[in-house]
Symmetry: C2
Subunit: 298 residues, 2 copies
């Protein structure tokens, strides 16, 4: 009598968010975002760079990186060290699921095999059945908000299955072909990037301390001009823009947790009063604390 | 704010049974079986034929057929109409899952695209990680009883995902490329096959009537000699061997259902006594009714 062996998936893709193929002209900059689902960026042509959390990354053709949930990430065409920028085509896919095993992908860059690159091709083909096509500047297509109803049956399931196969293949690669997997921080990055990394880590350590640009400059021995220039080149922001963006993210995290009221949060973030705290939040986001609380409860 | 779209699979492969690649020499015959899980047969080289339930089938290189759960099926190398037999390589995969949508595959033969053939190649590659290799006569490999523990992580999941992709692709093909899908009974089959089909249907209609070979011959206008010869050629059995095999299957179905006791079953199948009924079952299967009942309750 034959006994069945049950397939126990080691990871599951259960939700689809976006699928993009971008043809970016040299000089394109995406200022950055973070969200509570997964994202992968694969470079199909040219080179790209940016930040993954506090870690600068560089991707060549055929390479990809994971942005874990809630990790801030941005993007620019070309690599940061070169004076000459370049065009860059990328595939961006965002998704959710039971993906705890991918924790080990954090801050890693993968060089894809032909098999893995071919999976991207298949995902794009299936994507035509479930994602809306929007033409825009510099884009072949830009697809977001998959349809509930697919044009061809099983297209969403196909995308999920293919993504799982890609993830499983990368999971094996990390064990079997470590030469195809690079851990950040990139050793190849120059002193300037190490500087930016250190500044970001310093900012993150001081999210609750309401620091000023003078505090940053005083903490480091770098020239103020060089610091400003490099930070903007790598992150797309000024130091204090970047800091305020992180502070806002942390404030919103606490509001979602609902563990403290606004007065307590103003104290926690070392604002001198609830008044300045509210004003800061409104100026940065365009909405009031109370509006955010209401939205996050819906 | 991006909204997730949940992937709702239209079919799921959840269990693996066997994976075989057989290199059969011409003249090979498999007498047949039925089981409560799914099976597919794909012809990688040469031609094959057999029965799927009451329907004779023929497969050329690149074609496959589904054997639905509990459908009797057998197999021989070469096609039934030719005097000259031939070698035949086949891939056989058996599996279980939530596959109700495949009801529409019943009694259909599929001609596979290169994409679909390539999925079989990938399944065989992954199979090396989870199935035992047994060398035997005329076989490249024969794999059954997958290991719970796989040699490479996610191999069972890969096989499940690939099977789902194959099934989805065939599901679409049935809608989009009807020319690549043939429904049984095969129009190309000669009068002899139509005869065998009709006999099998007659036997199945009379499972509860304890009929004799004379009843079959009387019902049809065929020559007795021709009837015997053709039936054995197509099914691998004599008419009455085949009939008794079907009756045993039906008896066991009722024992599993536990809706009637043995005396009631003897009546239902028109045996003159429980004694003859028990004796019939013991002679056909080598075990007693009570032994089967006990096994089926475990």
């Amino acid at each position: 009598m034959l006994k069945a062996v049950t397939i126990e998936p080691i990871l599951k893709v259960t939700d689809l968010y976006t699928l993009y193929y971008f043809q970016h002209k040299s000089g394109y900059r995406f200022e950055g975002e973070s969200h509570d689902f997964w994202e992968i960026i694969y470079v199909d042509h040219g080179r790209a760079s940016g930040l993954n959390g506090s870690e600068p990354y560089e991707l060549k053709k055929g390479q990809m990186i994971f942005h874990h949930p809630n990790v801030f990430h941005n993007f620019r065409t070309g690599v940061m060290t070169d004076e000459v920028d370049e065009d860059c085509d990328i595939i961006v896919i965002s998704f959710g699921g039971n993906l705890e095993v991918l924790e080990q992908f954090r801050d890693h860059i993968f060089t894809l095999s032909m098999y893995e690159r071919n999976i991207f091709k298949q995902i794009l083909d299936e994507g035509k059945q479930v994602y809306n096509k929007t033409n825009g500047k510099n884009l072949i297509y830009k697809k977001e908000n998959p349809f509930e109803q697919e044009k061809v049956p099983g297209a969403k399931q196909m995308i999920g299955n293919l993504l799982e196969q890609l993830l499983l293949s990368l999971y094996r690669k990390q064990k079997e072909c470590p030469s195809q997997v690079q851990a950040l921080p990139l050793q190849s990055l120059g002193m300037e990037y190490q500087m930016v990394r250190q500044i970001i880590l310093f900012l993150e350590q001081n999210l609750y301390n309401n620091i000023s640009f003078a505090d940053v400059v005083n903490h480091f021995n770098f020239s103020e001009t060089q610091l400003k220039k490099m930070f903007r080149q790598v992150t797309g922001y000024s130091v204090m823009q970047y800091y305020r963006k992180c502070v806002v993210g942390r404030i919103e995290y606490h509001i979602q947790q609902q563990d403290q009221n606004f007065t307590e949060l103003a104290d926690l973030f070392h604002f001198s009063s609830i008044h300045y705290f509210s004003k800061f939040y409104k100026r940065e986001t365009g909405r009031t604390l109370r509006e955010y609380l209401k939205n996050s409860q819906e």
